[in-house]
């Protein structure tokens, strides 16, 4: 029953297409959509889902886009949609318009629609979802919820999904609630049977078992970061809700409930405070860390702006703090549900006075976990704020990544903390003394020793023994030591990862964070077009020496970022004293995740403009 005036030959693709679900926020579609995505994973085919949602709770449109890619491309593909599951009448026109020629439109045809609402060049698949669910269920909430499972059932027939995998997932999801499992399985088959009986199944987009998922796991970056905080020994979390960072604090709450409740006393080995604002959250983090606990906050751009004064205090007073910034776009109402990399500079140079901060750029949930745990070691070791820069793209979407690992023998690096025994033995203590030549002084926790090691914490007006001083030389000495400490940080933050092109080239590209999968894919597309790029993924700031060498070794380096101003490029120019002409901006900033198509087109265009023939590097 493929209804189309002239039959269009639909796209023919196996394990390589994009499905998009257009839903109404609050309609309960999220769990059916996740089920769809996970069951494809269980077939051994990599997928990457993305939530595209407005800043609203109920009633407004949401989309869930799933890229299926046996080849393993995890970045957004860009371009149109191959199969649109159009469940939202409100967005119908734009949804239909977004289908690629030859693509498919799946919709609820209970109410007939005039032909003018369709397109000639697509394949239209109508399933009377409302009719089916109205017949099967009496309660309106049930009709609503099961409609999602019914469309999943129909899709399973149309795309040749592995039904036992879906059933298994349902059983896992509702473990122990057999009635619910049975009801869901029944709804699934209702949709499936209808499709098999009434439609030509499968359509041109099909799924086939494959083996390219491996042992990878499927998790949100925010959850992985929260888990990293649990493993890293964080005990205090102070936060103020803001999209897209809230789910990080919420995941921390969940994992602490699971892993951090003393089994005997039922008491908590953690404290999570929903603070009154971001000034208070960072203040609490600083207070807790000053007193020797590992503490963090999670926020987004507007929160970073509010934390500025305190961040400066932590920098000058040398107090560890971990700040997760899940980046979004802009202040006030500004696109809180869109992704960007726009806080690089406001974090790198946060606060007044001469300040510089350590930044970490995880590329996926695996690194969110790793870097989160590491950030607490870095904060303690360097006694300074550490910014973990995620974004909505990795923070709030489930992403396939390597399984998380933990070395049982790993110890927390609490940094230079003088103990009661050392003080008792007469070891010299001066809070801001550079005893080891690395710019990092010793600290003491309050209450350590009755007569030794106490000091007064304040901003900049102090000497190296933390005595009050407004003398110029004391100030300068301290500022220069802080620079030395920042230099030490270069060796401690994760090193950049370089990858050479398959052929020698004088072109390079630098990228970071969530741009990773799109860049990987763009590399291949460009190589096919004869443009070869050496790549460097920057993972931390201050920049490691390798970054400067990489730029030095190439004639032109593209800096690929998801912001308007080329913020990482600015940081590279400023900190490494690079000739700006050498660094070409490749900037994507419309709030959607960057795509391989965008990167490859932009770089190909620029290579043309530059008239730099990608000459082979002289082979030594």
């Amino acid at each position: 029953m493929l209804q189309s005036a002239e039959r269009v030959k639909g796209l023919q693709r196996v394990n390589d297409f994009v499905v998009k679900f257009a839903n109404v926020n609050g309609s309960g579609s999220a769990s059916a959509n996740t089920l769809f995505a996970k069951s494809i994973l269980r077939m051994g085919v990599p997928i990457t889902p993305r939530n595209i949602f407005p800043s609203n709770i109920q009633g407004l449109p949401t989309w869930y886009e799933v890229r299926v890619s046996e080849a393993g491309h995890l970045g957004a593909r860009g371009g149109g949609v191959d199969l649109m599951v159009a469940m939202n009448p409100q967005t119908w026109t734009q949804d239909v318009a977004s289908i690629v020629p030859g693509g498919y439109l799946f919709y609820d045809n209970t109410k007939p629609m005039p032909p003018s609402r369709f397109r000639e060049d697509i394949v239209v698949i109508g399933v009377p979802l409302t009719e089916i669910t109205n017949k099967a269920y009496t309660e309106s909430r049930q009709r609503q919820l099961f409609k999602n499972i019914v469309y999943l059932g129909a899709l399973s027939a149309l795309l040749e999904m592995d039904v036992p995998e879906i059933e298994k997932l349902l059983a896992e999801q509702f473990r122990g609630r057999d009635k619910l499992v049975a009801a869901n399985v029944q709804a699934l088959h209702m949709g499936r049977d209808w499709a098999l009986a009434n439609l030509e199944c499968p359509i041109g987009l099909t799924l086939r078992r494959a083996n390219t998922v491996g042992d990878r796991i499927f998790i949100e970056g925010n959850a992985a970061a929260a888990l990293g905080a649990v493993y890293g020994g964080a005990t205090v979390c102070a936060w103020y809700p803001i999209t897209p960072s809230s789910s990080l604090a919420e995941a921390f709450t969940r994992y602490c409930g699971r892993y951090r409740v003393d089994p005997e006393t039922k008491k908590n080995k953690f404290a999570i405070v929903q603070a009154e604002d971001e000034l208070a959250s960072i203040g609490m983090v600083i207070g807790a860390a000053w007193n020797g606990a590992r503490a963090f906050t999670a926020t987004s751009g507007p929160g970073i702006s509010l934390m500025q004064e305190f961040v400066g205090l932590a920098y000058f007073a040398e107090i560890p703090a971990v700040i997760f910034d899940v980046q979004r776009a802009g202040p006030s109402t500004g696109m809180p549900t869109r992704t960007q990399q726009t806080d690089i500079l406001s974090c790198a140079y946060a606060s007044h006075g001469d300040t510089k901060h350590v930044l970490l750029f995880p590329e996926d949930p695996y690194e969110c976990f790793e870097f989160a745990a590491l950030s607490f070691d870095l904060a303690d070791r360097l006694q300074t704020p550490i910014f973990m820069l995620l974004d909505l793209e990795i923070g709030m979407n489930d992403r396939l990544c390597k399984p998380l690992t933990w070395d049982d023998s790993r110890m927390m690096d609490r940094g230079k903390v003088m103990t009661e025994e050392e003080l008792q033995a007469g070891k010299d203590f001066g809070r801001y003394l550079d005893v080891d030549g690395d710019g990092i002084p010793y600290r003491t926790y309050p209450g350590t020793h009755p007569t030794r090691g106490a000091f007064f914490t304040r901003g900049t007006s102090k000497d190296r023994r933390a005595r009050y001083s407004e003398e110029g030389p004391d100030y300068e000495e301290n500022m220069l030591r802080l620079l030395k400490k920042f230099d030490t940080a270069k060796q401690l933050v994760p090193r950049p990862i370089a990858r050479s092109a398959k052929e020698p080239t004088r072109l390079g590209a630098i990228y970071f964070g969530s741009t990773s999968p799109a860049m990987d894919e763009a590399e291949d597309i460009l190589a096919e077009r004869g443009i070869h790029l050496d790549l460097m993924r920057v993972r931390g700031f201050p920049f490691h020496q390798d970054v400067k060498s990489f730029i030095g070794e190439h004639d032109q380096v593209f800096v690929v970022e998801q912001n308007r101003d080329g913020q990482l490029r600015t940081l590279l120019v400023n900190e490494l004293e690079i000739d700006p002409a050498k660094l070409t901006r490749v900037l994507h900033f419309d709030g959607t995740p960057i795509t391989a198509r965008f990167i490859s087109d932009a770089i190909a265009d620029k290579v043309g403009e530059l008239k730099v023939v990608p000459f082979r590097k002289a082979v030594p």
Partner: protein, 351 residues
């Protein structure tokens, strides 16, 4: 200007407390405040209170915001860790510190600008969370450090040194603390150490959020005719409802008092507050009556001082959060890290 350490001359005849400390051991650096500033009297009272209570100085953490008042932690408890944080934000830093180590004694010092203007939000929230601490506002009705602007606690109608009248309504921090659930609320006057020292002692012994609004005249900018926080004005309008003595659980109580004039309040840690009542009808256990009383007396132009409210069995933030008794900063890998096996299990659930 550079800090001048106070020479630690130990007079052998100075009395020692049970820990073997003299009063000097509770002092700090020489004050750099204006001679006669009320804040210095409060510092002296803190020194006395800690000495009297026999507190080990290093087990106290003193935190403050920014202002002349917030500078004072340098001038007392030199053997304690101190933290001069940012303007108006001491409460959040203190809250975090308290979460990290519940075993220390937390003393927060602030000013009326610091707490009632820029920091009013954090002031409110630390009270409602019930953080176990002593929070003292050294209230002079002006910004001393920035040279005499009105603060949010200045009374409507009060006059600045240049004769400008304050047109805005005052914020009463005591009223706020009562409404927000502080479990120990007092007001005192830097010029009345007999009232102030025991109040600080009682607050330090209290196991919840203890707040003291201490009127502390600024001799440089707010001690003139027309000011409502000058020494003369406060002396004239002071209505003390009680005086108290703090008796450690160990001491024996022998003296007897006429019924109705004295009340013994036993606090959770065993210490006893002996309240010598001046206003017989005043009940320190009735939060709502306290608020009404303050409003009434305030409208009549009186400044009510003394212990205004106490809940001898307070619940603090750690209680609300159900935290372990071990300070967080002593928890090690074994206590905090779920380890690789848990992670493997989790990985398996994410496929």
């Amino acid at each position: 200007m550079t800090f001048i350490p106070k020479p630690k001359l130990h007079h052998p005849e100075l009395p020692k407390n049970a820990l073997g400390y003299t009063r000097r051991d509770y002092e700090g650096a020489v004050s750099t405040l204006c001679a006669g500033c009320g804040h210095d009297s409060i510092s002296a009272a803190i020194v006395r209170a800690c000495f009297n209570l026999e507190l080990p100085p290093h087990r106290i953490a003193k935190l403050s915001g920014i202002g002349c008042s917030s500078k004072t932690p340098t001038y007392f408890l030199g053997a304690s860790h101190g933290f001069n944080s940012v303007h108006g934000r001491m409460p959040s830093v203190l809250t975090g510190a308290n979460l990290a180590n519940r075993d220390l004694i937390y003393l927060g010092v602030s000013g009326d600008g610091d707490s009632a203007s820029i920091g009013i939000g954090q002031f409110a929230h630390i009270m409602r969370r019930g953080v176990n601490m002593t929070y003292i506002v050294e209230n002079n009705g002006v910004y001393g450090l920035t040279k005499g602007q009105f603060s949010a606690t200045s009374d409507r109608g009060a006059k600045s040194r240049r004769g400008v009248e304050n047109k805005d309504e005052a914020i009463d921090l005591v009223g706020m603390a009562l409404q927000l659930g502080a479990t120990f609320v007092a007001r005192s006057f830097s010029g009345d150490k007999d009232q102030l020292i025991p109040l600080i002692e009682a607050a330090l012994k209290h196991q919840g959020a203890a707040f003291i609004d201490c009127i502390s005249p600024c001799v440089a900018f707010n001690n003139h005719e027309g000011s409502h926080t000058s020494f003369d004005y406060v002396r004239e309008h002071n209505l003390a409802v009680n005086y108290l003595d703090v008796i450690s659980g160990r001491e024996e109580i022998t003296v007897e008092y006429a019924a109705g004039t004295v009340e013994m309040v036993k606090q959770h840690d065993g210490s006893i507050l002996r309240l010598r009542k001046l206003a017989n009808d005043y009940d320190v256990h009735d939060r709502i009556a306290a608020m009404t009383y303050l409003q009434e007396r305030g409208a009549a132009g009186e400044i009510v001082t003394g212990l205004l409210y106490v809940d001898p069995e307070p619940m603090d933030l750690h209680h609300h959060m159900n935290t372990v008794s071990t300070p967080f900063n002593e928890l090690d890998e074994a206590a905090l890290c779920p380890g690789p096996a848990a992670l493997d299990k989790l990985n398996a659930s994410l496929r």
